[in-house]
């Protein structure tokens, strides 16, 4: 399990888990679940297009992530945000099926891109993942205060920092960067559950933002590590374990909150 080829897997998966945890914390407090689901999924055509054009997969992913951010942002200006997100999602996925159908070797690749392929990560892919993850994490920490403030009051935000729409865009870009690198590892459909599950649990455990962020990263790391071990042992897809743990974490968080709120009635 810790042989040479697995070292790359452990490194990349841990990097991905830390970033997904950080981004996920803000995803949950901003109520941006749909965007966090849409961006990784709309990034997946990029991988297919890269195979079709014969370029490095990372570039395809980054371009597609960028396009989906532009799509959500442009369409939201003229209509309901949830509709704009949905339309961007389906158009990008439509392009994805087209690219895949032209590649020919079909189902196995669809499966790997949608549900992740942690085994067989090359040493060469560590550097781009690390660089992009550090950039995304840095940007998040720089925007820490405005992002936190914007989830409380947009008016206060505008007087102190910058407009809410600019901040939304900045957050979407960070989300896109984190998704693009996480996608080949955990898969387009489950990047999102790595972002939402741990953060939703942490939110119920503590109300202090910095601690909640730390707890989120911790749960996210544990989720990924356990998922890799179980996947290694059973040969079942890693996504199954990641998705399951996400739901378990959310359930546990709700349980903790219920216990905390429960106060024994005073004896009269």
């Amino acid at each position: 399990m810790f042989s040479d080829f697995m070292i790359n897997t452990w490194t990349v998966a841990s990097l991905v888990a830390v970033t997904a945890g950080l981004v996920g914390f803000f995803t949950v407090i901003r109520g941006a679940s749909f965007a966090a689901h849409t961006i990784p999924l709309s990034t997946f055509p990029g991988a297919a297009a890269a195979v079709l054009l014969g370029v490095n997969q990372v570039w395809g992913l980054i371009v597609a992530a960028g396009l989906s951010v532009i799509g959500i942002n442009a369409l939201s200006r003229r209509g309901q945000p949830d509709v704009a997100t949905a339309m961007t999602l389906v158009m990008m996925l439509g392009l994805g099926t087209l690219c895949l159908s032209q590649i020919g070797q079909y189902s196995q690749q669809v499966y790997a891109l949608l549900f992740g392929q942690v085994f067989g990560i090359s040493r060469a892919s560590i550097t781009p993942v690390a660089v992009i993850d550090i950039l995304a994490a840095g940007a998040l920490l720089m925007l820490f205060r405005p992002l936190l403030l914007s989830s409380l009051s947009t008016d206060l935000l505008q007087t102190r920092y910058l407009t809410a729409t600019r901040l939304d865009l900045a957050f979407l870009i960070i989300l896109a960067m984190a998704s693009a690198v996480a996608l080949p590892v955990v898969g387009a459909l489950l990047v999102f559950s790595l972002m939402v599950g741990p953060a939703s649990a942490a939110r119920n455990i503590t109300s202090r933002p910095v601690i909640a962020m730390g707890v989120t990263v911790l749960i996210s790391l544990l989720t990924v590590w356990t998922a890799i071990v179980l996947s290694y042992v059973t040969n079942w897809p890693v996504g199954f374990f990641v998705g399951g743990f996400g739901a378990l974490a959310y359930g546990a968080g709700r349980g903790v909150m219920r216990i905390r709120r429960w106060k024994p009635s005073p004896i009269s």
């Binding site: 109520g31 309901q80 509709v83 439509g94 032209q102 669809v110 489950l190 199954f240 996400g246």
Partner: protein, 293 residues
Amino acid sequence: MFSPAKFITAAGFFHNSAVHVALAIGGSAAVVSAIVGVFTVLRAQSFAGHALADISSAGGSAALLFGLPPLVGFLAMAMLAASGMEVVGSRQIRERDLVSGVVLGAGLGVTALFLYLDVSMTTASNAANMVMFGSMFTMAPETMIPALWVAVLALAMCVLLYRPLLLIAIDPDIAAIRGLNVRLIGLLYLLTLSIAVALSAMTIGAILSTALLIGPAATAIRWSRRPGSAMVIASVIAISATWGGIFLAYASFYWTPNHGWPVSFFIVAIIFLAYLASGRTTALARLRRAMAG
């Protein structure tokens, strides 16, 4: 030279039984999705609609594994997820989105497992592709009659729920004061949504069925402020997109040798273009009104 009229008659577009099944089931999926979609857009529940569709893929992949009809799998899983969301659910939009998200993550995990088992234990090597991106031209003719009945049931539910749902969409508090059981109607609506989603997941694929649900409805709402006529417009857009997509996909076998283009791509592209165009027309109308005074 490619001529559509000659192509239809010569290539036997209307004599192909796979095309018949696709036109019938695709058409009914389009109408049901378009009508339910108007409610979904009005209630701002695109994410829940998309989540149900994604989760129904777990049922679709399980059906392949156990040899059940795919419609049964998609439908059962979508309904299960809808009930789950309603039980855990909350009236706050943020919390509702989070619950949808968590249920969605767990559901997709299960899909991943079933698809893996499909590929390793059965002969369905193309399972991931069929479930996620649809199997328009490979649907069994036997599914046509049950699919149509399910569609009729969904339309009947829409008629029954029409007034209460609109009232709740406008103001849930007034609806509650007038004696409507808001939660029960919410659940019935989610079950109707499950039917729409299951039908379109089977035809254009689980992760693309959102296109049929949201696209035509969002376009129609821009054209008409009245929900009834928005539903008619949405149905027309959805049917044209689906049938147009089937025709183009059939034709595409002649454009690129050996393999055609996916039908789902054409359907999504037509819907997306209609949505973009509707923005243009409303912008034009606004400009005209401004010019007129």
